[in-house]
């Protein structure tokens, strides 16, 4: 069954481009060009996800999100040219699930849509029954017993060293680790000129778990201190 996605933007070309990108991935796309149309189309029972622009005529995106949230519990992703932190916080507090700044990278957009859909549709049941000992942070889920990292429910293929790093960081979500400490605990050797070594592995892990490795959301560098996995 093809999942149905509603794309809302007052710029018809953008709607078309997004629709094309998503259809290539095998999704069914509904199109709306302002908030009112979005509200009308949001009753569609097949609908699984909404991509919503903010600045639109008739009814703006944030108001539309508020209205839709009253009736439906599905992932809503905001697309906006405003990239301020305050705009993001405002959008998320209105009930949106994610915030994608324009101009976005098409691949990243598709990846995010896929990620949210997976969590919404497939992991919905799993969410209800959280496995014992599981550590969750947003899209990531780590099972220490099995030593498996899941991103959107999919196991991530990690090398032994990468797994050790993920193990350390996921067990201490939010705690900052200096490169020396990571090196000592993962390699088990006295650290010497460790920054490059650790950074190389961090970059590789990012490629595997982040939607946009250039702007990581989970595995972050705390500049001048160390590394951490963000708590989401």
């Amino acid at each position: 069954m093809n999942e149905c996605i509603l794309v809302v933007d007052d710029d018809a070309e953008i709607v078309k481009a997004i629709a094309l990108l998503l259809e290539k991935e095998g999704y069914r796309v509904l199109k709306a060009y302002n908030g009112m149309e979005a509200l009308e189309l949001a009753v569609e029972p097949e609908l699984r996800l909404i991509l919503m622009d903010v600045m639109m005529p008739k009814l703006d995106g944030l108001s539309a999100v508020l209205k839709i949230r009253e009736r439906r519990n599905l992932p809503i992703l905001i697309l906006s040219a405003k990239s301020e932190d305050t705009d993001k916080i405002l959008g998320l507090s209105m009930g949106a699930d994610d915030y994608i700044a324009k101009p976005f990278h098409p691949q990243e957009l598709v990846a995010r849509v896929r990620s949210h859909l997976r969590r919404y549709t497939q992991l919905g049941d799993v969410n209800a029954a959280v496995q014992a000992g599981e550590i969750r942070s947003g899209r990531l889920c780590y099972r220490p017993e099995e030593r498996v990292l899941l991103a959107d429910g999919e196991p991530v293929r990690l090398t032994a060293t990468e797994l050790k790093i993920v193990d350390l960081l996921m067990r201490n979500v939010g705690r900052i680790f200096p490169a020396e400490e990571i090196y000592r605990r993962v390699w088990g050797e006295e650290p010497y000129a460790t920054e490059n070594t650790v950074m190389v592995h961090i970059r590789r892990i990012r490629e595997k778990i982040e939607l946009n490795p250039k702007e990581p959301e989970y595995l972050k560098v705390v500049w001048g201190i160390g590394y951490k996995i963000e708590k989401h």
Partner: protein
């Protein structure tokens, strides 16, 4: 040792100057005194003291003359002499006197009446034959009378027989023959003052003169030469003294001038008096010359170095300063009020003096007729004056109260507090000023509101422009992506698409940069300042950029300390700063050259310095941190031209200092942050 010497040198130079001048002054005075003073109280005169032979001294001539007259008186006296006319035991002076061929007195057995009879050891013989005296010295006859006139014992022999002598007395001596012989080297110390004492006095006088007249001036000159060699040290001593005297109040100095004047008048009177006649009390006064001189020098020195500050260092000035300092704590009203009171108080002594005259007026009888009228006038005038003063003061007080309100108002407005319009009482002196102030304030407020509005508009404009840029960019990026996914396109079309993708990426980066720089320029850049390790941040940045660094043709040579360097900054922003700086350096460095990245600690600061040799010639006099400025003006290479601008604005937003220097083709960027004592929060131990 060296510093000790340095501090002692000025003191020595000063001492040399003071001693030298004092000695010269003293010896000059002594010379003048001794040369001009011919008083007989000194037995051996200045000129006599340096005679080789005591018989050539004028003292000898006088003594010899007195001895001769003693013999003549003895011979011609009608009274009876119980003792010998001259000392009988004096072997330095042999005598022999006879009258009418009869020996009257002698202290020698030798025959002195002829030159041949002179005993051994005696070289001087005087024979008076009743009329004239003949003298032989060392066998030679001496010309006794000269031109025949007597001018005084200093020049002539004090003997009878001169043309201007007393003939009456000399007639009595006609029957007398007197002979006197003097020893060549007197050795007898008789009870009286003999020739031996002349010799003694001469040598004593010589010693005295040398110590008084030769040694002091010589020492004085030597000391002055020393001073001239060390005069720059003496100047330092002068300055030190001037520094000291500069702290004395001017009034005290003026008061001390009075004794100085007395001292000088004493000194001058003493000196003039000494030239006229010798007197021990005058000598005492003349001694005042030296203190007076040095006292005056002290004044001159003070004036020379402290001239501009003399007025400031006075009791009056100190009082005024104290008043001013006190006045700073008062409000304007209090200040002016107290000034007026002071003015009034200063007049009171004058009134009191006037009042004190009234009893005096009563005591003079001849005023009595006019007195009541006069008194009435004075009292009336005084009362009117006081009343006028009080009235004026009250009026001023009112004006001052208004002024106080006006000033408070101005201060409040200056501090940016919202103030309404100022209401002053009707007819106030300051009503116009208050009205102008109100107008000014209104204008200012309007201007401020307009400025804020325009500031807001500017930020909105930036946001709008960035939105307007981002929307089409989104389409471009999306369709380029779709094109890239298209299959079966010819290779050259694929190539075009690659270029489109590349440029749209760059455009995206540029829009982001422009937006951030504009925000920073408008002061709207949010920063989260946290303590972080500067060295670690640089190492992380290098690690993060390792691929880019390896690809570059230049070699990066970092030199970072292993120990943490704690500063406070926004880590994400600072990472952007160094990302920009390093990629700039990699992009523009000469192929194969080295880029140096150093982190140095200096005086509470940590400074990261990046140095590279530019590939292209650097234009001189260009501020590279200006927006859109690049090394080459053609702009054909990549980059938004905002890298350095972003680096600078971000550094400054984080509280650091950013500086850039070009020297020939060497490009140096320095990013410095103050060190901090803050540390990141402790983290719980890891599981």
């Amino acid at each position: 040792m060296d510093t000790k010497l340095r501090s002692i040198k000025p003191a020595l130079a000063l001492l040399a100057f003071v001693l030298g001048v004092s000695l010269l002054l003293y010896s000059g005075a002594a010379w003048l005194f001794l040369l001009t003073n011919t008083s007989p109280s000194t037995r051996v005169s200045l000129l006599d003291a340096f005679q080789a032979d005591y018989q050539n001294t004028s003292l000898f001539r006088r003594m010899l003359g007195e001895d001769l007259y003693a013999l003549l008186h003895y011979a011609t006296s009608t009274e009876y002499y119980s003792s010998a006319p001259l000392a009988e035991d004096d072997t330095d002076l042999l005598y022999h006197v006879e009258k009418d061929g009869r020996l009257l007195a002698s202290n020698t057995s030798a025959d002195l009446s002829a030159l041949d009879g002179l005993p051994e050891g005696y070289n001087f013989l005087l024979i008076f034959n009743g009329e004239t005296a003949s003298i032989w010295k060392d066998g030679q006859e001496v010309n006794v009378y000269g031109d025949g006139f007597y001018r005084g014992w200093e020049e002539d022999w004090y003997v009878p027989g001169y043309a201007n002598g007393s003939t009456h007395d000399e007639a009595e001596y006609a029957q007398v023959v007197a002979c006197l012989a003097a020893a060549k080297d007197p050795a007898s110390s008789t009870s009286g003052y003999g020739f031996y004492h002349i010799v003694q006095d001469m040598s004593r006088m010589r010693v005295l003169l040398i110590w008084l007249l030769v040694v002091p001036p010589a020492a004085g000159v030597a000391l002055l030469v020393w001073y001239i060699l060390w005069r720059r040290y003496k100047r330092r001593a002068d300055q030190a003294i001037a520094w000291f005297t500069g702290h004395i109040w001017l009034e005290l100095k003026a008061a001390l001038l009075l004794p100085l004047v007395f001292l000088w008048s004493d000194a001058v009177t003493g000196c003039i008096g000494l030239f006229i006649r010798l007197n021990s009390s005058l000598l005492f006064w003349a001694l005042a010359v030296l203190p007076a001189f040095w006292w005056s020098c002290l004044y001159l020195n003070d004036v020379r170095y402290n001239f501009g500050r003399l007025r400031a260092h006075s009791f009056c000035a100190a009082c005024v300063r104290l008043f001013h300092r006190q006045a700073l704590a008062w409000s304007v009203q209090q200040r002016m009020d107290r000034r007026a009171v002071l003015q009034f108080v200063l007049c009171i002594p004058f009134f009191l003096v006037c009042a004190a005259q009234i009893p005096g007026l009563y005591s003079r009888r001849y005023y009595t007729g006019l007195l009541p009228l006069l008194l009435a006038l004075i009292c009336l005038g005084g009362a009117a004056l006081i009343a006028a003063q009080i009235r004026l003061m009250t009026a001023n007080r009112k004006a001052m109260a208004d002024m106080d309100r006006l000033l408070t108002h101005i201060q409040a407005a200056g501090a940016g507090q919202p103030v309404g319009s100022l209401e002053l009482p009707e007819g106030s002196d300051l009503a116009d000023a208050a009205a102008s102030l109100d107008q000014m304030e209104k204008g200012l407020r309007t201007a401020l509101i307009e400025q804020m509005k325009s500031e807001r508009t500017k930020i909105e404009l930036i946001a709008n422009v960035s939105h307007d840029l981002k929307t089409p960019l989104t389409s471009i990026v999306s369709y380029v992506e779709l094109l890239q996914q298209e299959e079966g396109l010819p290779e050259h079309v694929r190539d075009y698409i690659r270029i489109l993708a590349d440029k749209s990426q760059r455009l995206q980066a540029m829009v982001r940069d422009v937006f951030e720089v504009s925000k920073a320029a408008a002061g709207n850049l949010p920063v989260t300042v946290e303590p972080l390790d500067y060295a670690k941040l640089l190492r992380q940045t290098l690690a993060d950029m390792s691929e880019e660094i390896e690809r570059a043709s230049a070699v990066l040579r970092p030199s970072l300390p292993e120990t943490p360097v704690w500063i406070e900054a926004d880590g994400d922003r600072l990472y952007r700063v160094f990302q920009n700086l390093i990629s700039n350096a990699l992009k523009y460095a000469l192929d194969g050259s080295r880029i140096y990245l150093d982190l140095a600690l200096e005086e509470g600061q940590a400074a990261a310095v990046i140095r590279n040799i530019s590939r292209d010639e650097l234009p001189q006099g260009v501020d590279f941190t200006q927006r859109f400025v690049r090394g080459d003006s053609s702009r054909t290479d990549g980059g938004s031209g905002l890298g350095l601008s972003i680096a600078r604005t971000f550094t400054e937003a984080c509280g650091g200092s950013f500086s850039l220097r070009t020297e020939a083709d060497l490009f140096t960027v320095r990013v410095a942050f103050p060190l901090t004592n803050r540390r990141p929060a402790e983290v719980p131990p890891a599981v």
